[in-house]
């Protein structure tokens, strides 16, 4: 991890995160931003390896920065850092292409460990997010009026999700399914990728629908 973007508006939390990041990645160059606008500018100028992104910012949502990074620097890892353990805030960021998330509420040792894992290519997946992903893909699988091909999870990806939802950790699932750490991490990456792809297709379709029918049909 060489270049790290840190987007957080509250100075004391930004400092707290910076200390934590320095501890996990002692050699990293940390670029700080407090606003969406500044972060978007930095994304066009600097190549990042990792971005820690707060969601609720004074001039908008960090989700926009996640999406911008996903488009312009797909190899950069976006990690959402949020107080919102309520998944309604987190899920859209994952749909926009975030590779992982950290809850500020979590114990410090756990956050440090998660950052370490993510940098090693092992994205986190909590039981509550797994449950959300399961119901998202279940809804996608239902017959719909439009005929666009839907992204589907493989049986193995589903299996991993179900076990995470029950509270098993990724290393434990690796043992249960006799799969290596890397293979399990690859499944999780695939799941996030498919979530992003599917959400984009859905968003494009929704935009089209709004174009065709005008206002008043927006149910979301």
């Amino acid at each position: 991890m060489n270049n790290i973007l840190l987007l957080e508006d509250l100075p004391e939390i930004r400092t707290w995160l910076k200390v934590l990041v320095k501890q996990v990645f002692p050699n990293a160059v940390i670029t700080e931003a407090a606003r969406v606008h500044d972060a978007l500018e930095m994304v066009t100028a600097v190549k990042f390896d990792l971005a820690l992104i707060d969601l609720g910012l004074p001039d908008g949502s960090g989700v926009d920065v996640v999406a911008a990074l996903r488009d312009s620097q797909p190899e950069a890892q976006s990690v959402v850092v949020t107080i919102h353990d309520d998944d309604d805030h987190l899920f859209p960021a994952l749909q926009a292409g975030a590779f992982g998330y950290v809850l500020k509420e979590q114990a410090r040792d756990l956050i440090a460990e998660q950052l370490r894992r993510m940098s090693a290519g092992e994205p986190p997946l909590s039981p509550s997010i797994a449950r959300k992903v399961i119901s998202y893909f279940a809804a996608q699988a239902r017959p719909q009026k439009d005929n666009i091909p839907h992204v589907q999870l493989t049986d193995r990806e589903n299996e991993v999700l179900l076990r995470v939802a029950k509270g098993f950790t990724l290393p434990e699932i690796g043992v249960q399914l006799n799969l290596s750490r890397h293979t399990i991490a690859d499944y999780v990456k695939q799941i996030y990728r498919k979530l992003n792809v599917s959400s984009r297709a859905e968003a494009a379709l929704e935009a089209q629908r709004l174009g065709l029918f005008g206002r008043g049909h927006n149910r979301y």
Partner: protein
């Protein structure tokens, strides 16, 4: 590090989902600290729910207990047992560490440990008992009433 949003505005949580969250966090923290963990909770599905506040408070109690085990106990093993019946939820957290010297009970936690765990349990009309002694580790017995919260409605 800040007050969780779920506790203020959140929906009730299915007990099975809460148990899954607690298990995942506890197993991964203890695993990382090289402390062996044996977690057992009822296998059968239950439709019972926890009020959002109860979920958050219980999360904090468990988290604190795990922090104490990691930081202070010197334990190599931890056992968690959960039990559910129609009216109660119980969780026992036991370690094989050196125990908490009673005279340190106050000093050790600096307002974040045992006394706040007990206080949180009391706020939920529950109970948090701590048994500890040199040589036999620490057992934390948490008992909470289920369905006591008048605002608790079934999820979804």
């Amino acid at each position: 590090m800040r007050l969780s949003v779920r506790g203020l505005t959140g929906r009730p949580m299915r007990l099975v989902d809460a148990l899954a969250d607690w298990r995942a966090e506890t197993v991964s923290r203890l695993g990382q600290a090289n402390i062996e963990i044996d977690w057992r909770s009822p296998a059968e599905e239950t439709e019972q729910v926890l009020a959002a506040r109860t979920y958050v408070q219980t999360t904090r109690i468990l988290r604190e207990a795990v922090s104490n085990i990691i930081k202070h106990s010197g334990a190599s093993h931890c056992k968690v047992r959960c039990a559910i019946d129609e009216s109660q939820f119980g969780m026992n957290i036991q370690d094989n560490g050196k125990g908490i010297p009673m005279e340190l009970d106050g000093k050790l936690d600096r307002g974040h440990g045992m006394s706040s765990m007990k206080h949180r349990a009391k706020q939920m009309q529950g109970q948090c008992l701590v048994e500890s002694g040199p040589g036999y580790g620490t057992v934390i017995r948490l008992t909470l009433p289920l369905g006591a919260d008048p605002h608790a409605a079934p999820a979804r």
